[in-house]
């Protein structure tokens, strides 16, 4: 049972670089989410998707882009990395109950 799989687990970026965080789920959930966790700040919703081809902004979308071409995959793109994007990123899927991946620790230096 894979559930929600995120890659990579760790990444260090230089300011201005770009990268894509990958997320895939095998539970056939319509809803998928990207959250970031900063120390003492809880989980903030970046973007979410209600199904293939449909995405919407969450609480903190600036600096990020998403796409949802299939039910399984929901990648998160950082175009011009900034130090403020240093955080732990969690992908999740589900409706009445969310299933989370194990997280990506990203540092932007």
């Amino acid at each position: 049972n894979a559930g929600v799989t995120q890659t990579p687990k760790f990444r260090i970026l230089k300011i201005g670089q770009s990268m894509t965080l990958q997320c895939t789920q095998d539970m056939n959930h319509n809803y998928m989410y990207w959250y970031r966790q900063d120390p003492g700040m809880g989980l903030k919703l970046i973007y979410y998707s209600v199904g293939a081809g449909i995405t919407d902004k969450g609480e903190v979308p600036n600096g990020y882009n998403v796409s949802r071409s299939t039910t399984e995959d929901f990648p998160l793109r950082l175009e011009l990395a900034a130090p403020s994007q240093t955080s732990v990123y969690f992908c999740a899927s589900g409706e009445e109950k969310l299933f989370f991946g194990s997280g990506t620790q990203l540092s932007v230096l």
Binding site: Y31, G42, E96
Partner: protein, 112 residues
Amino acid sequence: DQQVKQNSPSLSVQEGRISILNCDYTNSMFDYFLWYKKYPAEGPTFLISISSIKDKNEDGRFTVFLNKSAKHLSLHIVPSQPGDSAVYFCAAKRPGTYKYIFGTGTRLKVLA
């Protein structure tokens, strides 16, 4: 604007005693609430949920209470065990969406 608040950043409890974690919310439209547990370097895992049409839900050692008039929910863990030491998050959503808003978390330490 923090719609879901967990005002206690940390809590320490003796093994075997009750742990009570609190969560307050500001939006009276929220209709469904979740509690999650998170260990270091892992993703959050689901614990228990409650609908706004109920005031209590129980699952083994975990009970969630909802007081709609006070816009307050609490998670009771009885008896507390050292393995319960983790960060606990509450989350809430409005009707018609599964867009969950999370609180800032409470770190529970259960002392053996």
